[in-house]
Amino acid sequence: MEPIKNHLQVQEAINKYANQDVYIHLETTNGAYASHHDQTFFSAGAYIRNALVRYEHGKITGTDPYRVGLKINLGWIYAEGLTHFEVDEQNRLLLAGHDNKGKLAVALEISPTPFE
């Protein structure tokens, strides 16, 4: 994963997957121990893996950390807090947000084939 420095690179990758079937991995997390270490902390998160969608367009916005939104046929997908990206060897666009300790806080991944 590389820090997102040039958001146009990410925009190009997002454009490539528009108007075709893609599989989405989306997660947000504070970690399972957040409320254990700080009992006043309200821990929340969500996770979806291998949601099959099509988006008509997608957009990256913001200035480090970034936001990405995908307009799908009947609704929306978005993630915020994104700091890193990679197009991996399986041609998947992996986006993630790492906090200032390096811990993953959010991930949005777009793949033409199902995730394992």
């Binding site: 994963m1 970690g31 998947r92 790492h98």
Partner: protein
Amino acid sequence: MEKERHVLVVFPHPDDEAFGVSGTIATHVQNGTPVTYACLTLGEMGRNMGNPPFTNRENLPKIRKEELKAAAAALGIQDLRMLGYRDKTVEFEDDEKLANAMLSLINDVNPSLIITFYPGYSVHPDHDATGAAVVRAVEKIPAAARPKLHCVAFSNNCVQELGEADIIHNISAVAGIKLAAIQAHRSQTEQMFGDVTEKLKNQDPQMMVWINNERFWTYKFNK
């Protein structure tokens, strides 16, 4: 530590074995007792990936699988089983199916002692769900034929509600092996390890108590 015929350790994540029970495992192995470690997931949802990150969500499980094998090798575990569940989803599995899977495992291994998490007192939902499935499985065995069940607990309320642990193993004789097991899970422990190494060098009293003492609660069955 009492000599066992065969020990079965059941935890959901690679590295669960390292912190709380690896000294106990290493001691059993040194006593000539076979140890089976069944690890339900590959810790696919781990949040630690180095800083700056050296991997990504999709490759992390491959790294953690190799780390798990390395930790098992460091501890001398001969029988490592990866059960193929997915991190953070164990509690959503069908309860009965999961208990039956644990029962088949127990029947296959035929242990004299099982080590797992104390359901309800182990913080992470996967920990509680794993412990609960093992308890349900053991409850299916007639009381007289059951293996012993030693549970790890560390929720903030565990001592208040369960009382003090009834088993405390001082594992200082194998502390070096324990540290090797913790270090084997590099992706998850390296960042904290800088601090740990420093504290060990200074024989930080709190750290030495944490490293050297492994505590268990014998599970009390209602049925």
